[in-house]
Symmetry: C2
DNA sequence: TTTCGTGCAAACCCTTTGCATTTGC
DNA sequence: GCAAATGCAAAGGGTTTGCACGAAA
């Protein structure tokens, strides 16, 4: 991503470099806060607004996708790491990656029946993961 | 909903009455702002925090569901009006109701393949509606 | 009367913005 | 040198909260 930015004529400031690197090295999805937290450690005078601006830039250039999962949880994900979706556990907050193929049928149905072009790269599905589901079952037996 | 609240021992203040009535009479999904806007007209000294508190109460009592569609768009929907989902147009903001049945296959797959109990009552799918899709196509030809 | 609900204002979180300053090129 | 990027602090939107007052039961 760094070289692509340079090619496009964007200035390579140390902040940008560190932010972009952090995004690339992050797990498959990060938040602005997480990126910020990682960068401040090595570069204590970065500002979070710079993080937001950089992430916005990367999104504009289609280098990351931005997913708003609701409840103030916005996630960023490098496009070149492939598409996937998130299953978000309402109890423990776990994020499970979901393969794109699972949703292809749905996308097709929505287009056919509703003429709606669903942007399923930006989907977060709320629910309960296996472990929490067991915990709930257990506590309800009490 | 009003009588149920009374049965449960909650006080029937004029504010509560108007808010609950507004929620019931609202289209199938409303926001706190919309409810507030409706209620102030007849009762100019309601406060929006009362609206939030009442909606929270109704949610706790499982009388409405709360759907966070992201980007600061939180929707409330009376449970007794049946489940449905939302297709949210990223361009014009249109909300299209989606029948529950469309997602049953998905729910089943998620449970089978991911052991994930998806809460599809709370799903908002972002994308582009038919009209905006045409507009985009048109402007790209320009 | 006594607890519950409300209004008000302030705080909250996350994100964005205006502006002066600094920096890369 | 000049436009682009940053830091800072302040504002923004939507929501929540502490507290004293008011009203339902």
């Amino acid at each position: 991503m760094v070289s692509k930015l340079a090619e496009l004529g964007y200035r390579m400031t140390p902040q940008r470099l560190m932010i972009v690197t952090a995004v690339e090295n992050a797990a498959d999805h990060t938040s602005a806060e997480e990126i910020f937290g990682q960068v401040v450690q090595k570069y204590p005078n970065v500002n979070i607004s710079t993080v937001y601006r950089t992430l916005d830039l990367l999104e504009e250039l289609h280098m990351v996708t931005k997913t708003d999962l609701g409840s103030g949880s916005v996630r960023y994900h490098p496009v070149d790491k492939g598409h996937h979706h998130h299953l978000v556990c309402r109890d423990c907050g776990a994020l499970i990656n979901l393969d794109e193929s699972v949703l292809e049928g749905l996308k097709h149905d929505l287009l056919r029946d509703y003429k709606f072009n669903a942007d399923l790269q930006h989907l977060g599905i709320l629910g309960r993961c296996e472990r929490c589901e067991r915990n709930v079952a257990r506590s309800e037996n009490t």
